[in-house]
Chain length 397, copies 2
């Protein structure tokens, strides 16, 4: 019986995790939940799953939830709130598996504490590895507990890696859909609209990740995540564009064999994989292999998608630079979505912030969060400096 | 240090094995060789590798070889011959790994004895699993020694299976190039010439295997091999046509994940894999992953390729039926190559022989060889009965 904590239970991954748990009631028990600001959803989850403890982001939501649970005769469920509440959910004594799915740096502290408390962690939060990957993976090694990736690419890599030992890996190949501008000439990038950029060909996703997919920054983040998770230098992580996104990723071994993983594109599959690892259990998520017809591939164009190049550079430098990459990108994407900067300003803003950031190592989550704030301020300045973003020399002047 | 015996050292797999051994002299020692009828090649191999013992198919070749070796100052190499000689090569006390690569039923006895002697066996001989798979795999289980497949499909499956436990496998997918008649209308099958049938689109191979690829019988044999090697019923072994033959095979797990293996099409790769298993060692056989462009797939057409259906039926029945499948096919293919029967008579002859064969279990290699002789006689009768193979006079006329 896996005893589970979910950080981000009302989000997409959180709900998928509960859906997996519901399918295998004999295998999974929900011990604790960290919800966000959706009081109604949190109440329903608490009622359905009867966790020991549930946390809300805001104190006043926690108070309302506590009242409603008491009225419903569920007063034994402890209600907590804020960052400390999330940590309590993540480190609850009865928990052995923590699903880390809070979006943004808000999930960092609790995820790190979960690892420190010896929990097995399933990672669906990007920042844990992009911004704090060195810290979190080092701690997981100290605890001798696996970090299990819950996203299709790294989960695919994790599966392929079972075909050999880590020192037998030559390279990792992350596949990328290529985003909506795979075939758009570079000259047209300056005039890309928000609407065009949000129109991802194969996935329906949140706004920021849609833009990150359009710039290939999302793939850049995944390169960094792979470096940290699998303890490999950036040059051993390669990207291959694969518009159908059927093959989720591949591992090339030193002998010349390559293993690739594919499956239906349903997040419940990597969640199930992580929750049951090292076992695999029966699911109804069948890919119709016999219906396979065509798979296409091409190399990524780093000229057209400088965000991918910037991510490689940040991965190489590590420390505060990967924190800055994520923070600057978040600010730049928000500015693009608000119509404040052009699409092609996103990599320029990120590049400026990276140039202004030292590659110092960060030895605690607090340092990571400080570097994050610093990079955001720098990025906001770049945004405010408007057109001067165009010409780096002029931008800070 | 792996101490190796090669059964079929002067054939294609044998020579590739020696080429692998030459690349890693610190890892591999050649202890014994069973050559065929190529005296010159056998002499060169004995001179180059200094085995303890070398066997020739024919006694007079053995005598000549012995004389030449003595003249060359290599009198310490024991020269033996015939079936008994092959067994001696396969069971030599200093050997721990036997590469079984003698074509046809001639390799059966020695391979079985190698397994009985507790050797690890790398299988490149089809008949070992098609005709005697039940016996050989049962003995390998008793010995608790692995049988390692040395052909691209089953080797790929073996690699993919590392991604889970055997009881977690939902299905195995063998890929098939589809042969030269993938797009030929069924109506034209009767008039297919030997020249057309030998013209395989992606592989240069021997004559029989070329025809077996054209009828998909070769894939049918592989279905049976997979059943025996991986202890799975035929319905769990599926075939998917993949004209580029890039992906060598796939394994679908119960959770819905599929692992696929690909690599350059160089037999040295599965040989190296088997010889070093469970390790993987560095090779220069790099597949240019970044150059991947298109992969195509389609389901096999069992109407057009009845040999594949017949193989499934034989796999299900087992025992003497799989022996008969192989024996009848060999006779039918030879008759086609000699212009005695039409291309579409091959499955008809095989089907007639299968219908005349009981599905009795065979409890020794001797029984297998008897069943083989019986099926060949039956197949020869079918060939001689000529047109009665359905459409009489026309085909020979």
């Amino acid at each position: 019986m896996r005893r589970i904590a979910i950080l981000g239970s009302t989000g997409s991954i959180g709900r998928s995790t509960l859906s997996v748990a519901a399918s295998y009631p004999e295998r999974f028990q929900i011990v604790s939940l960290a919800a966000g600001r959706n009081l109604e959803a949190a109440f329903e989850q608490a009622k359905r799953w009867g966790p020991r403890v549930i946390s809300m982001a805001e104190e006043r939501d926690a108070e309302s939830l506590e009242k409603r649970l008491k009225q419903a005769g569920l007063g034994e469920i402890a209600v907590v709130c804020g960052a400390a509440g999330t940590v309590r959910v993540a480190t609850h004594a009865e928990v052995d598996f923590v699903v880390s799915a809070i979006v943004g740096v808000a999930g960092l502290k609790a995820t790190y504490e979960a690892v420190r408390a010896g929990k097995i962690v399933g990672l669906a939060n990007k920042e844990c590895l992009v911004a704090a990957g060195e810290l979190i993976t080092a701690e997981a090694r100290r605890q001798d507990k696996p970090l299990l990736p819950i996203d299709s690419e790294h989960n695919a890599v994790h599966q392929c890696l079972r075909g050999g030992e880590m020192e037998e890996v030559h390279r990792i190949w992350l596949t990328a859909s290529g985003g909506p501008f795979l075939h758009t000439p570079r000259a047209e990038f300056a005039s890309i609209t928000v609407q065009q950029a949000l129109n991802h060909p194969t996935w329906k996703m949140g706004r920021r990740i849609s833009i990150d997919s359009a710039t290939l920054m999302n793939k850049g983040f995944e390169v960094i995540e792979a470096c940290r998770l699998f303890h490999m230098p950036p040059e051993k992580i390669q990207v291959l564009v694969h518009p159908q996104s059927t093959i989720h990723s591949m591992v090339e071994f030193v002998d010349g064999s390559i293993l690739a993983q594919f499956s239906v594109t349903d997040m419940r599959l990597p969640i199930l994989y992580a929750l049951t690892y090292p076992e695999r259990i029966q699911s109804d998520m069948r890919f119709p292999v016999g219906d396979l017809r065509h798979l296409d591939f091409c190399p990524p164009d780093l000229e057209k998608f400088p965000c991918l190049r910037l991510a490689y550079e940040a991965a190489e430098a590590g420390g505060a630079r990967t924190v800055a990459l994520n923070a600057a990108d978040e600010i730049a994407v928000a500015a693009f979505l608000e119509g404040k900067v052009r699409f092609d300003a996103i990599p320029r803003i990120v590049e400026q912030v990276l140039a202004a950031t030292s590659s110092r190592k960060l030895d605690s989550i607090e340092r990571v969060l400080e570097a994050d704030v610093e990079a955001r301020q720098c990025a906001l300045q770049c945004v405010r400096s408007g057109d001067r973003v165009r010409n780096p020399a002029a931008s800070i002047a």
